[in-house]
């Protein structure tokens, strides 16, 4: 129900992949008022399946592939049910049923169930060590099984199979691709391109055996080898089967909707039931099914219009175009590339030595398809020629030599309706309008407003071209422009810091007025507050109005506007007296929830703002800084004092470290831990700064994380004494405080700078850095004041915490 009492129509989306998510985005963009519920069979927030091979190779983690984070669903009031599969649909009663048997009524239903891998009926396919490769679970299972194994056989030389082979070779396995046909990637490549690709893969150590059809998987319990129809057999420790995909029509077919190879939809993306829509790899439109991402964007827009009753926008099919990189070679395949249709002619250029190939297929005076390999600079130009069905008589001679390798003009002639970003389905017109309306000047800004160039980023040059067309000489291509602090400034954080030092500015408002746009934003106001306090070591002019509420009242705001209070308990080691004081305060202020935090502290939740100073006074403990971009808690394990396995005194060092770093602000929060042995009970490997005891002293890890991002920290150094360990930790902390971008966590910081550089700067005996860092660290320490104590004693307490007036006359 809305505020006005109107009952919202309910839109149920089945499938939380690229297609389902795209529909929701488009419906939200139309500002249609729906109650949206999305079901995903996998146990994750939707991820970008295209990047699955990067997960398999270890180049990316799951978090880098998420389409949306949890906050997005929350912010947009979209209910997400993960790990829950819609098992049946009753179109007559307009209801779906979920995996728990619950009835889910809908007004409009969208089916985006994607496709399933084809599992061939080959004897022995049930053996251990044989996998399909279609989702995260598959990738995880393959990765974990591959540990300690040496050879992997890939059955199927299509795109996914090759990607799996390359990824596993990257993990150190000896990979061989067995393909039943005589050409790799038959869906995208012709014979010549397939031959070049095969040679290129072999050069990278990946075996390719063509004309090999598997007939049996050999082995007892686990797979040990494969027999082929040509009589040969080869050993393999594991097998990935990638023999194609088939639209997942099961749900639709059982619901009585019309299906053939896919779920049949018309140009409005309607199924045979007018309230049920479908899109993506599960559908069949005008007799065609697709296994690529570009059609999804176009289809999603049509689905959104259709479910909203704005029927009229039509989907008329997509020119098949694939751009990808296999084993380091760029490949593009567009439209009808075979050149074998009657009446077609092919223009080709091939250089096997350079692994370069280019083929343009003509039908009469029009380009109908192309294959590019090695140098794909002409991709967009050719795609547009195919889409526009342009007459190329006049420049047929230059079709092959045209705009390769950045020579010549290389510009693509784009009409308003041409799609610039295929991943997100953004047209030139949308981009031009956004540039003019919001005065955009960079790819990033265009991405923020239109989502163009935010997925695979291959359209970057094209977006630049549109910028160039609109802005003319004012346009500066992205590489030449340094990243500014935020939109309120035209200079970077580094330049800003230098200017602040040289001009002596000490207040956020002065910096904004003299160096920025005078207003500021939600990023730079708190950011400048940090920068100024860091640069002037506390001798800045504090402007409370530039701080987030958390920093104004030294507590963390909760969803209902109350606050949480986390007192400092050094190293997580407390005492009966301290616990009694906390218990007394919790009772006195009727604290609704008392909770142990993840960082081993005690959280008093639900405290009213007015009560904060008095509860702090009653607690008599310093602030735990749980609300701030500052050093947080040092988590510790029991250590050698009591633990049978502890090799060093982790609690003592943890307490020492927490006291040493207490109250220091940083570009973002800094979580720490000290573990008394490599069993890592304090989870030091996943902290911003984590110490792990070894027989001879301590290991210092930095840049670890265990939040939405999970990353094991990098080993910065090994120290023989407590003092040396603290010194290294201090150097890293201060280095991060000085060099980190505001809001940049250490896990991004260490990746951006690289551990080699960090080690060189902090640990090299020749480096001048440590002495200067320690000096400024000590200066910053002297400026630290305990915020709770300062407020309790302060004169402005009333104005800062209490309600101004209650008037009832």
């Amino acid at each position: 129900m809305t505020a006005s009492g109107e009952k919202l129509r309910r839109l149920v989306v089945v499938g939380n992949g690229i297609a389902g998510t795209a529909v929701i985005e488009n419906v939200l963009a139309l500002k249609e008022r729906f109650e949206i519920v999305v079901y995903g069979a996998e146990a994750y927030v939707g991820y970008n399946r295209i990047l699955l091979s990067d997960i398999l190779s270890g180049a990316r983690e799951l978090r880098d592939t998420l389409l949306k984070n949890g906050e997005w669903y929350f912010e947009n009031n979209v209910r997400l049910c993960v790990n829950n599969k819609i098992t049946s649909v009753d179109p007559l009663k307009k209801a779906a049923f979920d995996g728990e048997g619950k009835r889910v009524p809908y007004d409009k239903l969208v089916i985006a169930t994607g496709s399933n891998p084809i599992v061939p009926e080959i004897p022995g396919i049930e053996k251990k060590g044989i996998f399909t490769f279609r989702n995260i679970k598959d990738a995880e299972a393959i990765i974990s099984f591959s540990k300690g194994r040496h050879t992997v056989a890939i059955i199927g030389g299509g795109l996914l199979g090759l990607e799996a082979g390359v990824a596993l070779a990257h993990r150190g396995l000896h990979a061989t691709v067995y393909h039943h046909g005589d050409r790799l990637m038959g869906q995208q490549l012709d014979d010549e391109a397939g031959t070049i690709l095969k040679k290129e893969l072999e050069r990278k150590g990946i075996g390719v055996s063509l004309n090999h059809s598997a007939v049996e998987f050999i082995g007892r319990d686990s797979v040990e080898g494969i027999a082929f129809s040509n009589g040969r057999a080869y050993e393999a420790d594991m097998v990935v089967v990638s023999t194609g995909i088939v639209p997942n029509v099961e749900l639709a077919a059982r619901a009585g909707l019309q299906t053939r190879r896919g779920i049949v939809v018309n140009d409005f993306m309607e199924t045979s039931d007018p309230d049920v829509f479908a899109l993506g790899e599960c559908v069949e439109h005008r007799g065609r099914t697709y296994g690529i991402v570009a059609p999804i964007r176009e289809q999603a827009r049509v689905v959104a219009a259709s479910v909203s009753g704005k029927k009229g926008v039509k989907y008329e099919g997509t020119v098949e175009a694939t751009a990808l990189k296999v084993a380091g070679i760029e490949l593009v395949s567009i439209g009808d590339f075979s050149g074998t249709s009657p009446g077609s002619e092919s223009l080709t250029y091939s250089d096997r030595g350079l692994s370069q190939y280019k083929k343009v297929v003509l039908q009469g005076n029009r380009v109908v398809g192309a294959v590019l390999m090695g140098d794909t600079g002409d991709h967009h130009r050719l795609l547009q020629l195919v889409k526009n069905q342009a007459d190329v008589t006049l420049f047929r001679k230059t079709l092959l030599t045209g705009a390769t390798g950045g020579k010549g003009d290389g510009r693509v002639v784009l009409s308003d309706e041409d799609v610039v970003c295929g991943c997100m389905g953004v047209t030139k017109k949308t981009i031009v309008e956004a540039i003019q309306k919001y005065e955009l000047t960079s790819r990033e800004e265009i991405g923020e407003k239109t989502r163009a160039c935010t997925s695979c980023k291959s359209c970057g040059p094209l977006v630049d071209q549109v910028l160039q067309e609109v802005l003319g000489g004012e346009f500066v291509p992205v590489a030449e422009k340094p990243k500014t602090f935020c939109r309120c400034f035209s200079i970077s954080q580094k330049e800003l810091a230098a200017k602040i030092r040289s001009t002596g500015l000490r207040a956020v408002s002065d910096v904004l007025n003299k160096l920025g746009n005078g207003v500021g934003c939600a990023y730079c106001k708190p950011g400048l507050s940090y920068l100024l306090s860091e640069i002037w070591a506390g001798n800045h002019r504090e402007e409370r109005s530039a701080r987030f509420i958390n920093d104004r009242v030294h507590a963390n705001i909760q969803k209902d506007g109350t606050f949480s209070v986390v007192p400092r308990i050094y190293g997580g080691v407390t005492s009966p007296a301290e616990l009694r004081r906390i218990a007394d305060a919790a009772e006195k202020y009727k604290v609704p929830m008392v909770k142990i935090t993840g960082g081993q502290r005690i959280d008093l939740l639900g405290v009213k703002k007015e009560a904060l100073p008095s509860i702090w006074a009653d607690l008599g403990m310093p602030s735990g800084h749980a609300y701030a971009k500052a050093t947080r808690t040092v988590k510790t394990c029991v250590g050698s004092e009591y633990c049978r396995f502890g090799v060093q005194d982790s609690t003592s060092l943890g307490i020492k470290m927490e006291k040493l770093f207490e109250g220091l602000h940083a570009p973002h929060k800094v979580k720490m831990a000290v573990s008394g042995c490599p069993r890592n009970c304090a989870e030091s490997y996943v902290k911003d700064i984590g110490l792990v005891a070894i027989q001879t002293g301590w290991e210092i890890y930095v840049g670890g994380a265990a939040g939405m991002t999970v990353r094991k920290g990098d080993l910065l150094a090994t120290a023989n004494t407590d003092e040396e360990a603290l010194r290294v930790a201090t150097l890293f902390l201060q280095y991060y405080r000085e060099e980190g971008n505001y809001m940049e966590r250490t896990y991004d910081f260490v990746v951006r700078l690289g551990m080699e550089k960090i080690k060189r700067e902090l640990l090299d005996p020749e480096s001048p850095r440590p002495a200067a860092l320690l000096e400024r660290f000590n200066l910053a320490k002297t400026a630290v004041a305990e915020p709770w104590k300062a407020e309790i004693e302060g004169r402005e307490r009333k104005a800062r915490f209490e309600e101004l007036a209650v008037i009832n006359e």
Binding site: K525, S545, I549, G561, A799, L804, A805, V806, I807
Partner: protein
């Protein structure tokens, strides 16, 4: 009913911040924008976040709970159809008055 209500001395309103007051059961956020005062219903239409605790940027306030952006002059919420109620507020002889 429509008589202006005296809320308090202007010095109780730090520049660039909001303060909360409750008038006849209605929770209102009063903001000192530096050169003028503005008053709006204090609860964000999204999830009820207390606007008086938000960061003020020019004549806008950012809700501290989920960062909705509210125009303090018109009450409109960026990218939303719903608005927050605005109230007339003025300074007279060093005191801040509110009209309901």
């Amino acid at each position: 009913m429509n008589e202006p209500i005296k809320i308090g001395d202007y010095r109780q309103f730090p520049a660039g911040e909001g303060r909360k007051c409750t008038v006849r059961g209605e929770e209102i956020g009063i903001f000192n924008l530096g050169d003028e005062f503005r008053a709006v219903s204090n609860r964000c239409p999204h999830k009820g976040g207390p606007l008086s605790d938000g960061l003020v940027l020019g004549a806008e306030v950012i809700c501290p709970v989920h960062s909705r952006k509210i125009d303090l002059k018109t009450g409109s919420v960026a990218n939303e159809a719903e608005k927050v109620k605005t109230f007339e507020v003025f300074l007279k002889d060093g005191d801040v008055y509110l009209k309901l």
